[in-house]
Symmetry: D2
Subunit: 401 residues, 4 copies
């Protein structure tokens, strides 16, 4: 069934699904269990408590939904908003585009603020809109923390500041799919009302769990939100939370145990150390790109993403060839350019359970691939630049000191 | 993390999630992969083709959705119907009740035909309704093939016959969650328009995949259905089917490989042999129940289910105690009675990848548990009755002859 | 690669290799590691300490050798004895026969004390030999604690008593392959000098580790033992024990982690509870055999084995047919009769990580198989007898109370 | 149980045990089975046939022994030789030293031909000895194909030529532990009489299987060899080969299935492609060492090993610090210098299921570690040199073209 076997490990550097650590694979290697036995609620209880930590919230209510990021989006929107509601949404790349498409299809009145792909959300426009919106027609601000298609990280603290400055009651909904557990994300401090992520991203698990965390204000909004929802309805969860059985329908036993281990690993490393590791690997990647003489799709440093780097290739190169070549020759999986930047960028995902030498192996591979597709890269140049930085910044592994 | 370890194997006899065969567990024991590489579409293509076989359809279009049975229900309804549409739906137990609840919350005009729990769908009432409905206000008939809460199997062929007799164009939507791949189900022959199941039932996989299969008529209906849907929208799938990439959002790599193996095992055994095995184990279970002097919750033989048997306990016994005791003393997982039959029945799930001696071990355990809770069962009586039947009917394992 | 797939679980009731619990399978599901890193010695240290507990020794020195039981035998003999040494060895079945064959081929002067297969070691003869041996020509007594071929358990306490009574300095070497971790075994209390077992027996792991435990007296004997040995030489281990690196050659990383978990499970259950569980399952099996009207190969109750029961079949039946039929029709693996009892007995292994309902499923299967081969068993009779006993004696699972 | 968890993958570059490919880990992820059922002999038969292919023999008889390389050595020697036999053995590093130690302890008259560590076997001395040995007192030539401690590959074709030139009947015994399945090894063509390897080396499996392959001449010698052996005795295997049950004692079920998959992967890649891949990775490693300005422990190109490179560090550096640092900071496992070269070399194992980017990641790590320990390496220099070579020589992955 491995149609495309190649010797050695696959070097998985797409920005999701990402590498699963062995202890998580082990934890999931099990038969099904009765989810109505006392064991599963006991386990779930610890998970819900601990999931709050990765959102940095103590007041939020988490929902672990058997779905993908797309479903998590839908859960966030339909539980808090009603058809026709005006929402401000930022279009800065393929994933924000898809979320906006969903928002429109769900019947909201979407006020789209578009930026060039490679730029962050235009928060000046948000300021104007908030300033003008004296009667609070804007019901929600929807923003991706990290646009996976372009490697752009938006400044959520500024969004909160603007809402506060204008004393605006709009809900603050954040797609944290490629940020939470990897970038600095602070649900409570930033007053985020709904934040969400998926299991196959920085949590380093298989696809299949959407994590949605709702602030008290979001839960309140859910009471009057008139969007039709059943599978994604928080109320069904809340009902079972009260009963102490937690699940309105059958969860994946394997993913529950996998999540337990994934969280244990994150807490053992320390969430802030995990974030620092991502910062380190992100910076190293950007130094390599610079050394190669290539440009980051992200246009300003303030937006640089520590989970994914979209690399612009010269016009005479098709970035899809880079991806294809990496896979065909070096068992290297890079991210394609999507939509507007198809053919123009390839993406290096550097999120999840990943370390320095894995990244350097990837960078060495990218160099060889670039040469294969006709870009005159100096082999070793990116690796050298990245290694120089990593050599100065990588801490000892605490358990081995 | 195994809070509740007990020596030896867990005897898993809830009607889902069910036992996963070792080859499927093995197949899923893997790291993530780039789902945009050529490998995943190639694999998916074989899966979609082969999934049609378990629905016994050649004309249907399958959707493999990262969700549970509840999500599959929602997909079936929202893609084919519009708010306000009249649908006839049969309430015969907890799962049909939950589906009806979903139908109502999705805004349909649900014409509920209720039966006593333990009886099948009242098809006489359906006949009357169809007879009266000259202007075809009924847009769909919704029916569970097998009600998991009571162990009742409905006669789908009769539903089709009635629709044909009255030349009624209503869509025929079937919840096959605890039937498909275990009971005789014939999508094309019975003119079913949407059928669905979940991975954790007779396919013997973890939870996480909802399988929905749509007839050409259902696909046609989807074009005009006005129910709001995004995550569950078939159109997104169809768009990617055309592109040959298949997935509108990230699938679970592990479940894809697991499904490949699960289907391989089913085809190796032969789908009809799988169904015959379920018939054999179902009958054996009922013989045991009879030998114990207990009653089947299912009131007539025509409705007996070959995937789950709900056993009525005498009034002086709380069936929840049976379940609790089995788990606490014998590492046996039985199904609770739900809602109206809570405390009155316990359920033996006998579906999925299961064989004769596993069932007999379970039956022996039920006997001991019954004694524990004060029912004067003759130990060995149910096992003897079941074994007598199995001894006459179990074929040799073909690969070992 | 599963040439002989049959639906459902394999019912593994050979007396080894036995069922591996899921947590152990999970623990072994891993890549290799550098065994010279600090991690492996740290792990090994805990293993060596804990292995002593299953031998019930505080003064013994354990060796975990990458080999099978046969290799463990060789290690026990060659490290303590010299060619030409007189040893008393008891022939009571196939495994004691094989050990004696090894003893002879290794050049010892083996004084064989033979019993009928089905009887225990003749300790009266031992008494005479010890009485006569005033000049201590007997260097060692070799005895299997539990003869796996016939289901006979020898009385080791009596052996010790005889040695003490005659104040005889002979080494006391015990094959505990199918006893240790399942039967009551007390290395220190009984003054056993070398005891051994294998990982695939009551420890419920894969084959691959031979456990040999040496008393101080045995270690002393090793200094002058002139049997040629290299791979099996304890000195190489002792050298690395001193260095704190433990391994003279590459151990199996997977088995080390598997052993850690296997021991954890045993200690969680409690070693004495494990032994009590074996006693319970052994008794239940014998009650079933009696109910079937069949005879135990073991001729007296004092020798009954709680880990394996060899069942005599009537002369008109070939016991190999019982085994073959079980495997071909019911996915049931029973033990063949070996050598002298080939065709005459089949064996039910009831050792390792096993519980009541697994055993009852097996017994139900044996009943059906017996009927298949023409023995007029009353179906359910053995199960009833076993269940009656188990129903009275099985404790609640402590973690679930 | 992972005492020393660090984020991301462990970079395993010791020369054994090596990385296990995921499909092999999956194949071994299973419960025990009855090894006396028809399934295991059927599987074993294919394994024995296919193991011959990796030895490049059609006339040899393979033995798969539950042991390590040390045990395989013992099997090779004790089955073919008698105590007192004169054998010529080459001491060129730690593993040849250990084998010689074993030879001496087994009672052979070992004629040791020593070279400096870093040089190959002195075949001129062999020539003299053969020339002088008119009465054929030399019974065997024992040589390691690849000395793992120094990264030296001996020329076996020359050994054969010398034996032929002098028409000498000595047995030709080869330790192929770190060569077979990685380096060019031709048992039949080179007239090797016994060759051996272990599962944890180029076969990329866990430790636990010793593979010994005997020529017809070796089998003939076994008939008169008087070395004491039981566990390692080929005769016991041959007896069971004839019976068609194959195993004189319990094999590891898991390793059998693992071996099946390991061989399948090797044959899918093509044994000669596997060997070419090792040549490519070996050469790339040496180019990196050169670029770092360091010396290979191996003194001449003719002896360069394509499976392990021992790198000499400057005198002011302790090579053990390199290893320690790699593990503590970068999750990198390198090989220590052993015995005479302890502190002087560290070793990069580049054998088994490994690809280009894994190696480049390792080389990048070594560069950072070298800097850490005070060696003024130019970061990226080794990677650049290796990548330049690999970029020109790495073929497309056949299954992905």
């Amino acid at each position: 069934m491995d149609y495309v076997y190649g010797p050695g490990r696959n070097h998985l550097f797409v920005p999701g699904p990402v590498n699963i650590p062995e202890p998580v694979i082990r934890a999931m290697n099990r038969n099904n269990e009765d989810y109505r036995s006392p064991a599963v609620p006991a386990l779930t209880k610890t998970l819900l408590e601990d999931v709050k930590k990765i959102f940095k919230t103590t007041t939020g209510t988490p929902f672990i939904i058997p779905t993908t990021g797309t479903g998590a989006w839908e859960s966030a929107l339909t539980n808090t908003l009603s058809p026709g509601d005006r929402i401000v949404s930022f279009l800065i790349g393929q994933f924000s585009l898809l979320w906006i498409d969903q928002q429109q299809r769900l019947g909201f009145n979407v006020d789209v603020v578009e930026s060039d792909w490679g730029q962050g959300a235009n928060l000046d426009v948000l300021a104007s809109k908030l300033a003008e919106d004296r009667y609070h027609s804007i019901k929600a601000i929807c923003i991706v923390h990290n646009e996976t298609a372009t490697g752009v990280t938006n400044n959520l603290a500024t969004v909160r500041k603007l809402l506060d400055d204008y004393n605006h009651p709009a809900l603050f909904l954040v797609d944290g799919v490629s940020s939470i557990c990897a970038l600095d994300f602070r649900m409570d401090e930033w007053g985020v009302d709904v934040a969400l992520t998926g299991s196959q991203k920085a949590l380093s698990m298989p696809t299949g769990m959407g994590f949605v965390c709702a602030s008290p204000k979001a839960l309140e909004a859910a009471k009057s939100a008139r969007s039709v929802r059943v599978f994604f309805d928080w109320n069904d969860y809340l009902k079972f939370y009260k009963l102490g059985t937690y699940w309105p329908y059958t969860p994946s036993i394997q993913l529950l145990y996998g999540l337990r281990t994934a969280l244990d690993l994150i807490f053992e490393e320390g969430l802030d150390n995990v974030i620092a590791r991502h910062a380190r690997l992100g910076k190293a990647t950007r130094l390599a790109v610079e050394a190669w003489g290539l440009k980051n799709c992200t246009q300003k440093e303030e937006w640089f993403s520590d989970t994914v780097t979209a690399v612009l290739v010269p016009q005479y190169i098709d970035s899809a060839e880079v991806v294809k070549r990496g896979w065909k020759r070096y068992n290297l999986s890079l991210g394609l350019g999507l939509n507007k930047v198809a053919g123009k960028v390839f993406r290096i995902g550097h999120l999840g359970n990943l370390n320095e030498l894995q990244l350097l192996g990837c960078l060495a591979g990218v160099e060889m691939v670039l040469r294969d597709v006709g870009y005159p890269v100096k082999l070793g140049s990116g690796v050298a630049a990245a290694a120089a930085f990593l050599s100065n910044t990588t801490p000892l592994i605490p358990s081995r000191i």
